[in-house]
Symmetry: C2
Amino acid sequence: MSKRKISIEDIARKAGVSHTTVSRALRDSPLISPQVREEIKKIAREMNYVPNAIAQSLQTQRTNTIGVVVTSIADPFYAEVVEGIEQVARSAGLSVLLTASHRDFEEEIAAIDNFHRRRVDGILVTDSRISKHDRAQVGQIAVPTVLINSQTEEQPEMFHSVTIDDFLGARLAVEHLISLGHTSIGYIGVGDRSKSNQLRLEGYQMALSEAGLPQKTDWVAISDEDYTRTSDVDTGRKMLSKLATTGLTGIFCYNDMVAIGALLTCQELDISVPQDLSIVGFDGIALGRYVTPPLTTVSQPMLEIGGCAMRMLLDLLEGKSVENRVLTPFLVKRGSSAALK
Amino acid sequence: MSKRKISIEDIARKAGVSHTTVSRALRDSPLISPQVREEIKKIAREMNYVPNAIAQSLQTQRTNTIGVVVTSIADPFYAEVVEGIEQVARSAGLSVLLTASHRDFEEEIAAIDNFHRRRVDGILVTDSRISKHDRAQVGQIAVPTVLINSQTEEQPEMFHSVTIDDFLGARLAVEHLISLGHTSIGYIGVGDRSKSNQLRLEGYQMALSEAGLPQKTDWVAISDEDYTRTSDVDTGRKMLSKLATTGLTGIFCYNDMVAIGALLTCQELDISVPQDLSIVGFDGIALGRYVTPPLTTVSQPMLEIGGCAMRMLLDLLEGKSVENRVLTPFLVKRGSSAALK
DNA sequence: ATGAAAGCGCTAACAT
DNA sequence: ATGTTAGCGCTTTCAT
């Protein structure tokens, strides 16, 4: 194994030309005569030359790298979003630096700062905690940045963004329950996800009031715990126990993990789903297909969210102007919801 | 937003010193007098200086970056492994470049090649398809590389590796079924994962023969499909249908997704699990906890696999010598397995 | 304690 | 069509 890496100067020496010629030949410059070019490429191959992207980056001021911040790498939702990001990034010749923020503001800032030092060409942040007040901390966000499902109320013109229509999604879920004949419908939320939780709650309320259905405060249970170690599944479990005695026949849950927690507790409490209680989740993670009964959910197009954000970033890198996108979620009917008896 | 980034020369000019002094001050060199150092740091802060990691890397020949190749980012198993990797990488000041290989040899090679151009300090590859015959293609693997659960029979001294003990794991699964009184035990495998599938099959066979139990060829079903789009769940579904009529009372599945496919088909065929049939999976992905009945499985310590591989890489980077690790999986008993009636 | 100069490996003006 | 010369923004001898 060659200890010292080969440089274009090494090739130049061997080929009896200048390193500039090698540089040009390797990048198919029309300035170099075909035979010289081929000869140089041949030598490069023989010497196992591997171009130094670092040196190229220093010169071209482009790293062909983007930074992605996710709340957790093992999160089934964002894992799929990142899959979508990576696919289009790679096909555009960009590599992805991935960092987890654990929904922590400081970690998020640190990750972005690290990306800046590394001179990434662009940044993608999921579930961002950054708002306009924090501009100082982020230093100058000098590179194109797109927020995915941001959790703050930043001015739209401040950052670029791709979001899911939480309000609409919630309505889809609740209207589905209503169409099944349910009239006593509850909501289990996650306080920690401020913005999306708020919007889903509002969508829930709107759907009910539009249908002229009653709303009771004890039909809504929102966990107020810090996002320490209490997972969403546990939230679903606890909150369902609270709501179990309120006579509800349908429950819309903040997301699929919460819904699954609710489902599990129903099994323990001998509440049959969907006979006694219909449950609807949000997100559309793969998992929902495999629980019993399979989970009815409002599905987010995860791959598309990632792909869309990445394409937006690509446009930004080319200096194009872009418009923020609000993607549309769609209802996936499965076994956890059924007509009211 | 400052268009042009500030460099140490800009700071030097402002501070009336040389850029060398700035460089030293910023990195707390004892050569610089405390007051000058503080003054320079203050100016740097005021000017919103962000060190250029690219320039540093070119000089120091270290990128503080590692490359990670996974089969799929959205894979619940490897997502968790990567989570483990990223945690220890970050605490060591390293960033992670992540690329998906989709179990494709060419893509895997391309990813590694890309990492080489980018001069990553080290590489981690999961489910590697590379064997010693392919050394040429990989060029010179010039940087420390650790394979995680490699799928080929490379000489141990060729690459460093962290693996799970597939053979032992399979035995744990089958011995568990045996201890529950089962005597007709089948195996559903995935042909595409050559090495691990082979080892798990052998573990299965060994456990049976040690217990003096019968083995029949039609108790073993191994999917021979290419890994195109047919997911493991579908494999489980199809193979269970095949085995359903053979009078088995226990089935060990290559992994949890296969087991879940089997579980789902059991529901459709009105085969009660675990009353009529006990099912045991492999991997220990979170999902298994939430299906009905919850899945008994041989769990791999996913975070630890990632963390262990990363620590091994860290040692390699420090020039230490390392020993390959074979980690031990453990049985997690849940509802999908029960004593034979 | 500080500075001048060289160089990491490449690209790009500017010659020729 | 090819070579010379500068940098890109840092770290690191080597002087002073």
